[in-house]
Symmetry: C2
């Protein structure tokens, strides 16, 4: 798995910043915020409002979610950003149900005492099928050990009606000191809090995860003018990690996005992005894939296979799809800070895998 020292201060979904309000138990003072949030202090097994239940023999969490109208794109299917938001939400609700949640963004009481926050170092998401507007899904999440100082968090999304798996994901989290912004060992008391929740089960087996190469300025697609907006910041006053995916995907040409589905994304987080940073997003299609520039050009490998014109209209619904599914298209991504001096600090590296849509008609019964 990713080494903790590869990670800088990206604080993501499941981490903590608020210290202004003390926990109820420490000084007897209950703030209005505490009353309104009503965070449980003991383990809960069912939460009817969150539609969550404890599973996996008492250590996993399952939440039923209805896909909302604003969580889908123009094609009526859930966006990858919404799926990542669901992951963040269910992870936090898992900690919520555990009775361990302190007054922060997913931090336990022990973490708060040690001034620690969660930072994500790696995320790998595989989507076989995107839920559609109004569809009911079940999201399972659970945690496991990752070395001596890390935690793995996995997710599985299923159709509630059929049980078919739509997506799976795994991620690695480490601890950071909130003040020094340096990575920290996991203190005994935090390990004692969270390790009873660890299980071996893995959503994605990654025996030998590939390294993501660092792109340089010769990358095919470069977007240089991205500035975080207020709405991109989360409770940690940083750009939320979900926004990173948006920035990566924005570099890919519309014509490609319209005819392809994202089937996998791997993210390696390097450092946090603040509200004043200017972000440069680079991406590069893989050599073995199809390279798109304005129109559609195809590589020699595919041409060799069939010798046909590969305009997308011809490909759709044709027998050629077989060869594409054997050779999925991939992009390498890099987000970096566009500093005033020549130094460009890395924010995140990414790797996306795509498959050709079967048809440009949404939900045709093919």
């Amino acid at each position: 798995m990713t080494k903790p020292d590869a990670v800088l201060s990206q604080t993501s979904g499941v981490s903590a910043t608020f210290t202004s309000v003390a926990p109820v138990s420490e000084n007897g003072y209950i703030s209005e915020e505490q009353v309104r949030q009503n965070i449980p202090t003991k383990k809960q097994f069912v939460d009817s409002h969150r539609q969550g239940v404890i599973i996996e023999g008492g250590v996993g969490y399952r939440q039923t979610v209805v896909i909302r109208s604003y969580e889908v794109g123009p094609d009526k299917t859930t966006t990858i950003e919404s799926i990542l938001n669901f992951f963040q939400e269910t992870a936090l609700n898992h900690v919520w149900m555990s009775g361990l949640l302190s007054n922060g963004f997913g931090a336990t009481h022990g973490m708060m005492r040690n001034n620690l926050i969660w930072v994500v170092s790696r995320m790998h998401v595989q989507v076989d099928r995107y839920p559609i507007w109004g569809e009911i899904i079940e999201i399972d999440t659970w945690v496991g050990a990752s070395g001596k100082n890390g935690m793995r968090r996995d997710w599985l999304i299923r159709s509630q009606a059929t049980g078919v798996v739509f997506a799976r994901a795994t991620s690695t989290w480490v601890m950071m000191n909130k003040k020094t912004r340096r990575l920290s060992k996991m203190p005994e008391e935090v390990m004692a809090e969270i390790s009873p929740w660890f299980i071996e089960k893995q959503a994605i087996k990654e025996d030998n995860p590939e390294k993501i190469l660092k792109l340089d300025c010769k990358a095919t697609y470069v977007n240089s003018d991205s500035k975080p907006k207020r709405s991109d910041l989360d409770m940690n006053q940083h750009v939320n990690n979900v926004k990173y995916v948006g920035w990566m995907l924005e570099t890919i040409p519309d014509s490609f996005l319209e005819s392809h589905l994202l089937s996998s994304i791997i993210l390696e987080y390097r450092r946090e992005c603040g509200s004043s940073d200017i972000v440069q997003s680079l991406s590069e299609p893989d050599d073995e894939g199809i390279i798109l520039q304005e129109g559609i050009e195809c590589d020699s490998h595919i041409n060799f296979l069939n010798g046909l014109s590969l305009a997308s209209e011809i490909l759709e619904g044709s027998g050629l799809l077989g060869s594409f599914s054997k050779a999925p298209l991939r992009f390498t991504h890099l987000l970096q800070i566009d500093g005033r001096d020549s130094r460009k600090e890395e924010i995140a590296r990414g790797r996306t895998t795509w498959k050709k849509k079967f048809s440009s008609m949404p939900f045709s019964p093919s």
Copy 2:
């Protein structure tokens, strides 16, 4: 209320575009999409997955919502965009429960037969209090008549725990022909479908709504480089109306947004915005308010009242707050298309009202 002829083709939350899949009842063919969405064909009184119930003697809809971690801003309170998303979602779920929902974005079966979609012409939202992360709220929505050819839709957001009203909203909707993009009278068969759901109750009484003046290029704040992103488009392939609010608020200086809360917004929609339009957002603080430029300048009215330095640090928590709450700050907004020729077509006008935050510390017990 707004005249229908003031409205162009802004298709918003509750409208329809998809025609590729016929309703189940018409040809007996059931698509995979229909199975996965499972839209009811008869009126439902309870939906446990959506946590919705029919209220108001059978014609209104109430949904319980838990504020999710990604629906709040850095200050842990729900963003105005999330509140508008909740409105869209509950409106659609109201139609969903009615058994009238066809295969589109809120259109009834009668509207589909007549090739009609809903377009919003006006929206007025008042927020007294913003829900916080983890808080449980109840959102009520219902509809009423608006002239011969329009419909009013109202909302009320309450704390589930205390019943305290957090926000209220009213909106006006008219019908548009999907092909000609012209406003349409409401056909008899559509009126027959929806009028049994009309009630008189109003969330906001607007006996004499003020007109919103059109700003010109001399506006104090101008943002000219906004391009819709793929993620801004909704199922109607247009920029969703919620994005309009984001564009309006982006013009306001950060220093103002950090020290003020949006308490009211009125939107008048003029025309749709497509994916290739470039949008210019203008805003102008009201004369009677405080004008901000870089630092904080105050108008003579306020200076006359107290003669003190009005730096924000002094204001916070001081007795001066009383005079601010009597004279809330207001902005006028304009979104227009930044066309290549000199013509700039209006997209929407807006009016926002703000109040000073009591403290810059989130949730201090003041």
